[in-house]
Symmetry: none
Subunit: 208 residues, 4 copies
């Protein structure tokens, strides 16, 4: 208490918490929730098991926060794209590409979306966040329909289909560790084309 510690200690605290979150995210993205046991998380994060409970009241809450953090971050980025002045199809394509590129670059958020956790409490949170995530796409669809840029359709269903489409393409039959940059770009382009055509009918190439 008497020592100058704010910066130093705060940083360590933040580091530990972040390291635990990062380790959990890594394990979940690689092997699903099943591989993220407390002992494994502790080892991966380089801390003791007890340390995890200093920052998270339970394994379930840790998982929920991993989901929440990942989703909030994505939603923030995608919402920015959704609010751009460009036409709805353009924004939609940009949002899909943005998400897919990040997913292909790092620990795969998509997995956290589809992997069913053992803990029902976490599962509830997962479904909730999935919904919130889908709402970003729904907003673009609704906006586009109002402006006549996107044909009339069931926005809820289409949003769910969109989310399913690109998460599945990321974690599904295709090898997630496609190394070459070119292959990744091809997949990204294929997914964008699919998604745009799915909701717009004709795919127009007027975006980044």
């Amino acid at each position: 208490m008497t020592y100058r510690r704010s910066a130093l200690m705060e940083e360590r605290l933040a580091n530990n918490r972040d390291r635990i979150l990062l380790a959990t995210r890594k394990l979940v993205s690689e092997g699903g929730f099943r591989d993220a046991q407390i002992a494994a998380v502790a080892t991966t994060a380089g801390v003791s098991t007890g340390m995890i409970y200093r920052y998270f009241p339970s394994k379930a809450e840790l998982f929920v926060e991993v989901l929440s953090a990942a989703v909030e971050q994505e939603i923030e980025i995608l919402t920015e794209i959704a609010n751009r002045p460009s036409p709805a199809p353009t924004r939609l394509g940009a949002a899909v590409v943005s998400f897919v590129r990040r997913a292909l670059a790092g620990p795969n958020l998509a997995y956290a979306f589809i992997a069913e956790p053992v803990d029902p409490e976490v599962d509830t949170a997962r479904i909730r966040y999935r919904k919130k995530f889908g709402d970003v796409f729904k907003a673009i669809l609704v906006d586009g329909m109002e402006k006549g840029e996107i044909p009339q359709q069931d926005a809820d269903a289409s949003a769910a289909c969109l989310v399913g489409a690109f998460t599945e393409a990321l974690v599904g039959p295709m090898d997630p560790r496609r190394t070459t940059r070119a292959t990744k770009e091809q997949l990204t382009e294929s997914i964008r084309t699919f998604c745009l055509r799915a909701v717009c009918g004709i795919w127009k190439s007027d975006d980044a």
Copy 2:
């Protein structure tokens, strides 16, 4: 009572086996793999736990067979649709509708696709079967592209997107127990429209 039992016992064996598979499928479709513990499966099937091990060497193998059976059955039905003489888009729409209707009617296969099993061995099988399942749609796409009925595209990616789209729409944010027939039909139609437009550009309504 101990003599002449081959036919009878064989049948009972078969019955037991099927009841175990059915019970497992029911539990998985309702609560994911996590709710399909051996004891629960035994109770649901009306057999003892030991009995399960007479037919399946392990819980993992039981799960794999549940997946396999569900997928084989679906593939058989969908393959028949895929081999019809109608245009590719028509067949694609029919296949999607066929799957969605069955999923909405009974124990939800889609769930088995999404739910993450605790056992990695089962997970491997799940991914393999997902791929096989997607191949049915890929075949329609490839055929349609050859015949010029479907625009050129990455058939692997599109097939994965399709599978993701309709499974997500079935288990995702939307309540899986949408009771009314009308609502179910609306959802089915929305999903078909989405899928057809996604791969064909313009959705043409010339099918069942």
Copy 3:
């Protein structure tokens, strides 16, 4: 299911359950609740840890049942004594002696009364059962006061004091393993004298 098992299996079931209860009671009486860990109970009872959970949903419930069983049994015996036609002081002395003799003969119930368990849930039950136990003595006191056999006094306080007096004398400073029969009888007599005089003033020796 098809075998004749009722008698045999039921007995084994009962045996296991009883052995677990007995083992727990033994451990609690010897070393308090703290020494009755699940692993220790299992070892003492000659079963596996998992077996304990076949009969008791949790350690706390096991402890509660140990308390409950011990108290119910005591209460039954003491209530019979309390309902005899003899004068209240006689019944009181007989009840005290009856309890003390049993406590000195076997696993010491008194300990379960005073030892505070680590689990608050068990503690609540302990206090509840203590109260029920004290009520037997309170009933004798109230009855005796009505009949003029016992001087007027605060029955609640006196009952609590009585219970405290003889449990303390049993588990307190005196060595619980006083081996000789003579010593045990002396202690029993001393406790009876104390209790009778405490509530009756003059101790009259007209009972068994």
Copy 4:
């Protein structure tokens, strides 16, 4: 700042030590040993956990000292009463009342007698101190018997019964937080009557 600190620091040390003991006593009296975890003691005392280990080699030793301090203090007060020139029954009643009043007024020593500590080492000490505590009453009894003021009886057993009686009445079925002063006085009087009659036969009211 680093020089001339002996007096100051000693005092702070003493203060810290006392605060730790007081905090522990408070927690034990309120929730038993189970609520007096090192972290809770540190928070309550306003010191760090590490600080506790500067004054006490282990949690067990801290608990032992809390017991010891509480009992020594009581013994000192009660011994003064025991050594008064008044008749033995008078002194006994005064001692009981003195103890009961303090117990009802503040953190309840009686609880520390009854609560079973997790640590066997503490339990041993608890039993030892209980015995020492009982010896004060035994001394009055022995003295009274010699002087013919108290009838002949087993002094060890009676002393144990006395201690059990009034501690039980304090922590037992009756609500420890009886708020009104009148109720407390009634209970005190009931306990004194019980104890006096228990060892003297007839209760004589010639004392404070």
